[in-house]
């Protein structure tokens, strides 16, 4: 049962989306468009989690000097990038009918765009360095430094005036909607962690294969 885990994760994601779309009432003001909450918000949260993995793995690499941590950081950065791109796209699709615009340069949107480009830059740097050890030593400090933008993105709606609303809390979201959001956040978390794990495994195997080839 090699694919059992994939079937469980995909099945849970399908269930969570089904629950959100058909068993959760729409918003009084927005109508069905509000269902975008169950993909936009989980993507954003899990991109932060992925970037935290990059941050923690980069620190551990500098302490332990093991390639294990470098491979983990690289895998998490890729997944985080995809999730941030997804956050931006889904947010844009949500913004058009509710705010009236696809995009506006408010602090939340701008800092999130910067977040995306920082991690694309991180991956680009990795792509430019051929030597494995050198790549790991160069990208670890960068992986720590650019994480500083994550709290800035999170706090941007509180620090500055934005078009984007501040964070919702269980008090501002109806319980049945909060349940759907939690289900989908867990589904996204499982997907993100699985992708990080598979990407990490791939990297480990590639290095092993390269070492065998050399010797």
């Amino acid at each position: 049962m090699k694919f059992l885990w994939i079937i469980i994760v995909a099945g849970f994601f399908a269930f969570a989306q089904y629950w959100g779309l058909f068993h959760t009432p729409p918003d009084a003001l927005m109508g069905e468009v509000q269902k975008l909450m169950y993909v936009h918000v989980p993507a954003a949260w899990n991109s932060f989690i992925s970037f935290f993995v990059v941050f923690a793995a980069s620190i551990l690499f500098l302490i332990r000097k093991k390639m294990f941590w470098d491979h983990l950081a690289a895998a998490a950065a890729e997944v985080g990038c995809v999730l941030t791109a997804l956050t931006l796209c889904l947010g844009s699709i949500w913004g058009r009918p509710t705010w009236g615009v696809w995009w506006t340069w408010d602090p939340r949107l701008t800092t999130t765009a910067i977040l995306f480009f920082l991690y694309v830059g991180y991956l680009a740097l990795r792509g430019f360095v051929d030597d494995n050890d050198r790549r790991a030593r160069l990208s670890a400090p960068l992986g720590i430094l650019i994480f500083l933008n994550v709290p800035i993105v999170y706090m941007s709606v509180k620090w500055w005036r934005t078009l984007h609303q501040v964070q919702s809390s269980p008090e501002t979201v109806a319980p049945e909607m909060a349940l759907s959001l939690r289900l989908n956040a867990i589904a996204f978390l499982l997907i993100a962690l699985s992708f990080i794990y598979y990407r990490f495994q791939l990297q480990q195997r590639r290095e092993k294969w390269e070492l065998e080839k050399i010797s």
């Binding site: 109508g31 009236g100 005036r161 909607m177």
Partner: protein
Amino acid sequence: MNRIGLIVSIAVVLGALGFLIFGQLEKNLVYFLTPSELLAKGEAAVDQPLRLGGEVKKDSVVWDAGRRAVHFLLTDGQKDVFVSSETTPPQMFQEEMGVVVEGKLLDDGHFEADRLMVKHSNEYHPPKEGEKPSFLYQDLIKKRATD
């Protein structure tokens, strides 16, 4: 040499971050002005492209369906600015809703908006029993079609 480069780059990064966090950027780089701030600027604000944010004052929305135009009072609780717009408003546009408009203040004191954006709150709840989401602009068009 390498060590000096490292120290310089760390200093630059920390300096830039310090500037971003403590440099009072919000004073120069605000996303939108409130009506009070706009009116306090007086003549200096006239004819400048800017964003204005606040709430649509209750009972102030007037539709001109023939010209597809709307005007309303934008308020921050203290001062009001008369805003007119000829763009199609987002469906959530309604009284007591947060809005951000882009445009400029004319010298007769009214704000001509060429973009009207709705600022949603962080509250989400399903419609109550028998309640239906109301979309002012769409309802207006339907009403005109049946008149």
